[in-house]
Amino acid sequence: MSAQEKPPASTLPLGATPGTSPGTPAAKPSPSEALAGIEASLHALRTQYTERFAAASTEQQLRDENAKIVGKKGDLTTILKQMGAVPGDARKSIGEQVNALKAEVETAFNSALASMARAKREAELGGRPFDMTLPGRTVAPLGHRHPLSIVREDVISIFESMGFAVHDGPEVELEENNFTKLGFPPDHPATDMQDSFWTTGGHLLRTHTSNVQSRALSSRKPPMAFIAPGAVYRRDDDVTHSPMFHQLEAFAVDEGLTLAHLKGVLAEFAERLYGPGTPIRLRPSYFPFVEPGAEVDVGCVFCKRPDGTRAGCNLCKHTGWIEILGCGMIHPVVLEACGIDSEKYTGFALGMGIERIAILRYDIPDIRLFFENDPRFLNQF
């Protein structure tokens, strides 16, 4: 506390008996005069303290004023010092009066203090609001996962919760695993759908994640349920095709697996990815490594009406359906090529393009946007 803030020496209030300040030599008053003087002083103090508190405009002034009344060197102390001159029988009464006044002053002080704090709080609350339209401050800029990764992780987690586990596989692969074991006949137009990049070492960049199926089926005994996500490569480059893109394949092999089970997994997947009640539709199709094979449509997510019907839109070409993946029962040829008894075991497989799912989810017009990695694109996810 600085020197200036120290409470000033006590001063008796106006009307108090003069000449009673401590250290002031004076004639000793008579007991009755002393009693009357004390009572007068108490009375004067009682009538003044409210005004004195009210006159304080700062908390410090208030505290100072309080100290002048009840402090060690305050008015009450000064009054009590005169007690010696008071007749013994009156002392008790004076003492009670002093204590009562002290309590009164304390209550008044606390209340004045509280109302002063409240007024200050109100003033603070009532000040000019901050300009919250100014930009927020971040410790570090926010990072964003790539939309393909968001979709990939979402899809993986859906299949993991159904009991599938991730199975790794290489991107540079043997022809055997990518084509032969999957039942692609040599020199067959089916390979037109998957025009491959070949390496000078005689390998190829996998054209689909189904190479993982070859590897898993060849290296372990059923039952099994795996998902294989990752980059795949085909020699296409236009608005709807990228020479590198991503697929996610899920497959299961066990005794007694049926097409109905495949549909069950697909229906569950569609509802988990696109929301409860999302319908699916299977259309027969052809992939060399499944039979029966099908393409799967989901009810268009863009033109869905509240009642669950579809209005038809450009994205679903007014059919109400959007194709999202291919699937089928694993062809016995594949099981046999991988050393699995195709009479005892059956299996199903399904595969989707991650870009396709992301394009539909985020309404992205050009597949090339995924690979340009423009910050203005990435920051949207």
């Binding site: 930009p135 570090a140 800029p141 990072g143 964003h144 996962r145 790539h146 393909l148 990764s149 009991g163 599938f164 991730v166 790794d168 596989g169 290489p170 991107e171 540079v172 692969e173 020199d187 137009p189 089916a190 990049f197 390496t199 070492g201 960049l205 039952p223 099994m224 795996f226 980059a231 490569y233 020699r235 480059d237 020479p243 590198m244 299961a252 066990d254 007694g256 049926t258 097409l259 109905a260 089970h261 549909k263 069950g264 997994v265 229906a267 569950e268 259309r283 027969p284 199709s285 052809y286 029966p292 393409e295 029962m329 016995p332 995924f370 690979f371 990695n373 423009d374 910050p375 203005r376």
Partner: protein, 805 residues
Amino acid sequence: MKASYNWLRSLVPQLNDSPEALAARLTAAGLEVESVRRFGEGIETCELVAVKALRPHPSKSGLRLVTVDRGVQGTIEVVCGAPNVPEPGGMVVFAPLDTHLPAVNITIAPRAIGGVTSEGMLCSEVELGLSDEGQGILVFPPNFAKPGSKFVEVVPSAQDVVLEIGLTPNRADCLGHRGLAREIAALYGFPFEPPPPQAPSAMSDAAADKAVQVSIDDTERCFEYVAAVLTDVQVAPSPLWLRYRLSALGVRSISNIVDLTNLVMFEFGHPMHAFDLERVQGATIRVRRARAGETLKTLDGVERHLDEDDLVICDAAGPVALAGVMGGGHSEVANTTRRILLEVASFDPRSVRRTGRRHGLHTESSHRFERGIDHGDSSVVMATAMSMGIRLAGGAALRGTVKATGKPIAPVVVRLRSARLNAMLGIVVPFAEAKGILARLGFQLKDVDGTTVEAVVPSHRPDITREVDLIEEVIRVRGLETVPAVLPSLHASRPVGNTEALMARVRSAAVGVGLSEAVTFSFVSPRDLEIVGAPPPAVLLRNPLSENQSVMRTSLLPGLLAALGHARRHGEKDVRLFTVGRIFLKGQGEGLPREQLSFAAILAGHRGAHLSKPAPLDAWDLKGVADGFVERFAGLKPNSEAYPQEQRPAHLHPKAAVLLALGGRPLGHFGLLHPDVTDALDLGTEVLAVELDVEALAKEATTSRTYKAIPRFPGSTRDLAVVVHEDILAGHVEAAVREAAGSLAESIEVFDRFVGGSLPLDHASLALRIVYRRHDRTLTDAEVDTQHASVVETVTKRFSASLRA
């Protein structure tokens, strides 16, 4: 495959479904109809009118005023710019007012041309949507029809509906209208009874086998070759119905004989060929492999150098056609051709495919042969071609055909078990229903017992070889919607490999330090790898799309730097990107490459600032990102040390090239890219980069984190400010402090550094804050003072440092 709805209906007369309903039914059965398009759409109001008079336009040269007779509607004069308006009497097609012609998107309205108002238009085939080329208006001979008749009533073939079907490669049987009709009949349950071919209307006494010889050398690749001869034909334009049918199917009309071969192909899905017999040397056909050095000029005018693997049709002099792919130019049917040799053959699909790919040819013919034609229909196809040929081009057919055969194709018999059918589908299909479906598709069935049947596969379905193929046929026709969705109880598997999990962890850690994820191509330019000092590529592509994508990356940096370049070209200067993916390193021996999961990040531009001037990013921003990433990923703080000059990666700046290690194991490096690198890649900015081996990082990552007690006793903080020579690194001072402070020092932090001011030249002021603490009691001031004094002494002595007040 484009299919004519009218043609299909003529083959399946019971079909009443609209084209759209038919499309939906086909799609549901696996023949995906991609579009339904109207041919000759919107021309219903067009009339056939007779030209009455012609006069030049009064002011516009090149235009004429044509008065035409519209029958009961009277006459009208219209402006016409066509050069081929016929003389009076000739008939033309008139589009009256308000007609909308979708093919050219024109609605006919009154139009003033050079002061003459024309209320209608004389139309060309292009305007009517009947052809995509041609000059002048459509002209008919006098008295072709009553003036004012509706054009489409007189020429009904001018209208059709075309279904574009995206056939899967296994369904070669539907590459012809008969096959499609058979499929439709099976789907709807209608009988399929195509008309048998008629005998040629004119038959010569001469026998075909006296006129030509046919032999097959390569019996493995040519299963059958049937030849027939038409003589005294008149090669001429095709009649309208044929022209419009082909046009509807997207094929240009050439001449009656060429159109004949296309028409037959579109009916049966079986390609055929017509030779000018006079140009077939020795009237001899021989099917053999090409010989080294042989050449053939094909119909497209290209001189082909044949390969010994190519199957060719030869005459006495040499190759005249690439079997199943394309005919030769020399023996092509011309306007003067009078004798025709027709070919209907069956070739090995794989041979046709290889030849087609080798020569870069994909034709309607090779498309069908590759997928497998009906090897049992050649006699019907040839009979149809002969009678249609005479109908179109006159002349006569020589008696009989000449046939040679190669390896016989044995009929395929497949068993279907009811139990297997149900087990595969997960439903119960009444066996009688299954058999009914197969019978409708053309299978001949023989019951083995009540639950098993033997099916003889028809020759038009070479794709059916196993029981599962029959199962697919049954459920395809029955409808996949008849199978319910049932969730299986799967035996949960355990993950194999951890790449995916590591990638997810990397993403989470990287995003947490403010990086955004880029996904970049795995193939890069070898030059870019060299520029960033990456290992030489281990995987080279034999058939890349471009040199820029010709090798598999051995570093993630080129991809990220390309993204940076793209961003900067588009005005985005502040870039904080990471990517996680595989790099492809040399594997063992000749085997597959080693695919190693890696992480890289780049920073360029400015540090985020709040309502103040942004400052450029520097090496310490990068260090914060690199350390923060490793700490988040691995739970441990990495060590980073400047590379000794001789070990520094060449792509990093000598002033800021740092080796990052964890547990003594190097994980990668970070630093400022060498200005030569940024110049070579034309990036135009400073780039900070970090590259880490994710697999090594994962191995060093802490697997068990244990809780460390939060201190309960107060610590004492002492600051130390020293002036040292600038050659002395802060890290070394910090290490000396750590050593001198011993176990009492809980933390040591360099919190200030400055140079200049009143400091001696080449000197820097370093300020360190040391927190002393014991975990079992409160330290006394005396203890702390003693310890700190020894710290001060060590630092001042060791580094010749002076204390700052």
